[in-house]
Amino acid sequence: MYKIILATRYLLKRRTTYFAVLAVALSVFVVVVVMTVMAGLVNEFKEKNHRFAGDCVVGTESLVGFAYYEDFVKLMEQQDFVEAVSPAIKSFALKRRRGSDQDGVVEIMGIDPVRHSQATGFGDTLYYHKDDVSKTFEIAYDANLVGCVLGDFLLLQDTNSRNLSEISLPRIAYSISCFPLTARGALAQAGTDMVNTKTFYYSDQSSTGLPRIDGSLVYLPFEQAQLLCGMAGSNKRASRLHIRFKPGVKIQAGREKVRSLWQKFKQDKAGEIQAYTLDTVTVQSWKQYRRSSIAPMENEQTEMSVMFGFVGITTVFIVLVVFYMIISHKSKDIGILKSIGVSNIDIIELFSGYAFLVGILGSGFGLLAGWVFLLKINPIEDWLFEHFGFQLWDRTIYAIGDIPNQVEFKILAIIVVSAIAACLVGALIPSLQAARQKPVETLQVGQL
């Protein structure tokens, strides 16, 4: 009991302690804010990638695509763990807006909007056709025209607009040109006809929140894209299949099932004429499929964690120095306590308890300050942007609406436990030193 009383009194009375509390509070504040924002950004980014890709992707990076996909789609649709499958064509094309003399390179993605919305979050990214994705490629003013969906950043670049609300539904036409390839990868046509070109009309725009996607991708109707890329014909080909699992199916487990089904499917098709196109096909979870985008963000998060690990180490040293000073001033108390029968372990516990209180108090203040700052981080950033044009995170890179400020209990718990542990570690050496002090020396009884 006396340890609690003395530790509390030391905490309240020793002004030096306030510096230790302040150091812990500042460290916790910085770590809470940065880790919360960073974790929010990474989680949001991952979630957007997940919505874009679906749960699992069976496909090839080859522009040739792979054959017999329809058979595999049928097989997948029979599986009880599969919710939806959407075949897609992916390739590169030249895009030219009508009235412009400039070509731009874009990625094209041929999809069936209904199936793709069932397998991925595509429908939710649309601006006009969220509620009726079947009409995504329909042109309201002329039913004979074929629509296309542009990524919103691409549309902004095309229209030289600063924001989408400035754009009224424009009657923009694009000519999309592709090099059709044979199943062997050769150009399907020769001479002046080597390029397939078709005109599409703007029918909607998509915002996935992934700048690279929204700045380069044009969605086309599946069959049209298949024709443009030379994947139509007797042996139709597709680039990939996006798969959504039924609720409750774990991604890894689902992917393993798909992988084993694919292996069997591939064996069954071994004798077919275009079986070789199946060799480059991989079965990936959404995370593997999007790893080139996600990995840099995760690395950044790890680097941040390491950097803030150093902040923790600094805190340990600050606490060590402060406790060293405090304990050197409290050597008389240590002698008194030992003269009335207090053990070495009790002395260690007393100063560890003291450090624990410093950790609790510092973490408490740090958490409170961090929480209040996070609550106000968006208004603060808005104010800075309005008055100084300063933005903490460039939206073209991070593609966030607001700075994420949802505090995660798990992160807070880890930070608080780490801060308290840092205090205990910082106080350990001074506490051990205090425990080793001899009472006759600490009572300064110099008389012999």
Partner: protein, 238 residues
């Protein structure tokens, strides 16, 4: 005299310190017996080793050689935990510079030895009793009005009486006082000696260290320590 009458026996105590390359011999074979209920003054000049002897008798320090027996039990055979319990329950220390904890009130300083000897649950079970005992002791010392004060708000004499109250809190068999009046004026010092005399008359065994012969005269027996050895023993007539 029966050997049971001795509460403390020191046999052939030696104590030396190493100061650089030099060995300083402080005690050079001290033999001392303390009877139950005795009030013994150890007198000696500065540097004679009297405080060192007192610390060894109270198990605050260890002799280089020799044995201290408390109620026939050899202190050198005590384990660390037993020594802590010994210091907590069997002896009470009064120091020249009071050595009170400034963070605690007068009352808390007095019941501190009881609190340190108990677990949290044990303390909650006996705290009312302990607080009453501490209040009684402070009342005996004339400090009832000061129980909520902090030590730095008291005079030197008051602080020393608080220190005596703390030393007596666990009803120790032996009270060890190291120059208890050394930091006080003579009137206040006499008041402290009156308190010690009263305690001794009530049966408390006391060993007091002093350099002042007039103060030593207040004890029942005086032991003179010269150059690390007991030179002569004298029974004062009180």
């Amino acid at each position: 005299m029966s050997k049971d009458d001795f509460i403390l026996k020191a046999e052939g105590l030696h104590k030396s310190y190493r100061m650089g390359a030099t060995e300083v011999r402080v005690l050079k074979g001290v033999n001392l017996n303390i009877k139950k209920g005795e009030f013994v003054a150890i007198i000696g000049a500065s540097g004679s080793g009297k405080s060192t002897l007192l610390h060894i008798l109270g198990a605050l320090d260890k002799p280089t050689k020799g044995v201290v027996k408390f109620e026939q039990r050899d202190l050198s055979r005590f384990r660390a935990g037993e020594l802590n319990r010994f210091r907590n329950r069997m002896v009470g220390f009064v120091f020249q510079f009071y050595h009170l904890l400034d963070e605690l009130s007068v009352l808390e300083n007095v019941f501190l030895p009881t609190m340190t000897g108990k677990s949290i649950i044990g303390w909650f079970a006996c705290r009312r009793q302990a607080k009453n005992r501490a209040k009684e002791l402070l009342a005996q010392m004339g400090l009832t009005e000061r129980i909520k004060h902090k030590p730095y708000q008291l005079s030197g004499g008051e602080r020393q009486r608080v220190a005596i109250g703390r030393a007596l809190m666990n009803e120790p068999r032996l009270l060890l006082a190291d120059e208890p009046t050394g930091n006080l004026d003579s009137a206040t010092g006499n008041g402290i000696l009156d308190v010690l005399e009263t305690l001794n008359r009530a049966g408390q065994t006391i060993v007091m260290v002093t350099h002042d012969e007039r103060i030593a005269q207040r004890a029942g027996r005086t032991v003179t320590l010269v150059d690390g050895k007991i030179e002569h023993k004298n029974s004062n007539n009180l």
